[in-house]
């Protein structure tokens, strides 16, 4: 892939921590940086801010830049049982927690095997596990739907959680295998040589080393389940509703205020997750690097 030279490739590539005294950021580099930061602020801030303002708008017609009448009717509707928002919130939470727990239980040993061991057929196993990320899962979901009808798993929480596991396991393993690979086995071997038993090695050596990576992987698994739309629609059959299913009809309708309020309820856990994991995702950490190793 070629990158256009208009990109801040040249001078902006200098970071201060790398820069020695002889080379300081040029004026152009500073302007490129300001432009980049401003566009991040606008591109991320405007949609989010619009959602907040819209959720409190009672009347906001073109071409007004702010609502002409404010109101909390959208939030009252969200809190009302008839909107099914609270029910969706509760269902989404239950499914996402179940998916995360299941992904940890089945994914942790697998990521450890892939991250720390060399064995015959390893790349075949990696291919199999990455298939749900690479191959569009639509056909699989449709096929599963018909199997689940026979197994009476449609319209159940467990059935929905099982289909969410299909994308959840690969992403969890991708991140955790790289966490295990980064951390290696040397420390554990030392601890075992020093006489620690298996449990103590895990409790005092392995777990502390992988805990921040595990936190990120778990939260992302939670969010993968949280954001699922079409799989839940198909397997849940419309009777088991999660938040995205409640939100969707409003997005294509004209009631922007209600759509905005439900969107904010739907996005809240994501922002909470980000506050907890921001450091692990940032430039001082390599957890995100796992996605770069397909």
């Amino acid at each position: 892939m070629t990158v256009d030279t208009k990109e801040p490739a040249g001078p902006a590539a200098e970071s201060q921590e790398y820069v020695d005294v002889t080379e300081r950021p040029t004026v152009t580099a500073k302007w490129v940086r300001r432009l980049a930061v401003a566009s991040i602020a606008v591109a991320v801030g405007l949609p989010m801010l619009s959602l907040v303002v819209w959720s409190f708008a009672f009347r906001w017609n073109f071409p007004n830049l702010l609502p002409s009448e404010w109101g909390t009717q959208a939030w009252a509707y969200v809190a009302d049982d008839s909107s099914r928002v609270v029910e969706g919130l509760w269902n989404s939470t239950k499914v996402a927690v179940l998916v995360t727990l299941l992904a940890i239980i089945v994914g942790l040993p697998a990521s450890r095997a892939l991250g720390q061991h060399e064995f015959k057929g390893k790349s075949a196993v990696e291919w199999v596990l990455m298939m749900p990320i690479i191959v569009p899962a639509l056909v699989a979901t449709m096929g599963i739907h018909q199997i689940f009808i026979r197994l009476r798993l449609t319209e159940t929480l467990f059935g929905v959680a099982l289909v969410h596991l299909i994308p959840a396991i690969p992403y969890f393993v991708l991140v955790m295998a790289s966490v295990f690979a980064n951390y290696g086995t040397a420390l554990e071997e030392t601890a075992r040589t020093l006489g620690a038993n298996k449990f103590r090695v895990f409790r005092y050596v392995t777990f502390p080393a992988i805990s921040s990576g595990l936190l990120v992987a778990s939260m992302f698994t939670f969010l993968i389940s949280w954001g699922q739309y079409v799989t839940t629609l198909l397997i849940g059959g419309g009777t088991f509703v999660t938040l995205p299913l409640v939100l969707f009809p409003f997005l294509s309708g004209a009631n922007h205020a209600t759509a905005a309020a439900i969107s904010l309820v739907f996005v809240a856990p994501a922002i909470i997750v980000l506050v907890f994991t921001s450091r692990q995702l940032g430039r001082e950490s390599s957890v995100m690097g796992g996605f770069g190793r397909i």
Partner: protein
């Protein structure tokens, strides 16, 4: 004598345990993926080939593939799906590298900028679409700003970006979500590589452009390759965003397939399955070709 056999037994059991260790660690995850994903695909594949006993079909046939592949509407939808996914993938990769190069620097406000940049990553796609809708429709915030600045007089003057055949709002939603994803992976790769290669190149007299194209880009290329595979596969198969923001005709392939699948007429299901299988095969072939090509280019 008895003792020796006991010891051999023990050693054998130990070696069996160590041989079984890795398969046992992998079994639960691989088992679930193979059973659910593989099982689902097999059922779909069977139906697409005419095996659907529930409605009395059990003759093996390529008929459904034939009718799908010769349908000009199918090809139009395939092209639309590909165009949207490819545009979103290329643009997000290029933009992400640019932002990553800025965000890896330390400057006043760089922490806040990085935090802002991370926000879209955990946000659900539907919420991203929700925010984009409020911005880019013909009566959205951007159109209102354009009116305030005297650029347009009525909402109709503002270019249609939702329900348009170009799929601008769809692409914007994908970009909003995926640029931070790729950008953060690139940042992580830059972090693990460290500054030494660039410093060496600088010591040897390489200028900014040379350092970028000859040193940095090869280092981050594997990461970009992986993320672009993930993004392409995701956007190629996404259902809800094109359904929400795209034209009704032509629709992207996942939308077409799902519509046929949900039709009360069960006789349409084999065709829905054939479309989904073709979608999966095209995605797989494109990604394998891309991987080959990218590997070749990196070498």
């Amino acid at each position: 004598m008895a003792r020796t056999t006991e010891l051999t037994d023990l050693a054998e059991r130990e070696s069996l345990r160590s041989r079984l260790k890795i398969p046992l660690m992998l079994a639960p995850a691989v088992g679930i993926v193979v059973l659910l994903f593989g099982g689902g695909i097999l059922v779909g594949l069977g139906q697409s080939l005419g095996y659907f006993p529930a409605i009395g079909l059990n003759e093996f046939t390529f008929e459904y593939y034939g009718s799908v592949l010769t349908d000009s509407n199918f090809l139009r939808s395939l092209w639309l799906t590909f165009r949207i996914a490819a545009t979103a993938t290329v643009l997000s990769s290029v933009l992400a590298v640019g932002f990553a190069l800025v965000l890896r620097q330390k400057f006043a406000g760089s922490r806040l900028a990085t935090f802002l940049f991370q926000i879209p990553l955990p946000v659900p796609h539907l919420v991203a679409a929700s925010g984009i809708i409020l911005l880019v429709t013909q009566s959205g915030l951007t159109a209102r700003l354009a009116y305030a600045l005297g650029i347009i007089d009525v909402p109709g003057d503002f270019p249609a970006m939702v329900f348009d055949e170009a799929g601008i709002a769809i692409i914007l939603t994908f970009l909003w979500k995926e640029v931070p994803f790729v950008g953060l992976v690139v940042l992580a790769v830059l972090q693990s590589v460290g500054p030494q290669y660039e410093e060496q190149a600088r010591t040897l007299g390489a200028n900014g452009r040379q350092r970028f194209f000859n040193v940095l880009l090869p280092l981050i290329m594997p990461g970009i390759m992986s993320t672009s595979i993930i993004i392409f596969a995701f956007t190629f198969a996404n259902y809800e965003i094109p359904l929400l923001l795209g034209t009704r005709f032509p629709s992207t392939l996942p939308v077409v397939a799902y519509r046929l699948y949900q039709d009360p007429d069960l006789a349409l299901r084999p065709e829905a399955m054939a479309i989904s299988i073709v979608l999966a095969i095209v995605a797989l072939l494109l990604l394998i070709a891309y991987r080959r090509l990218a590997r070749y280019a990196v070498r």
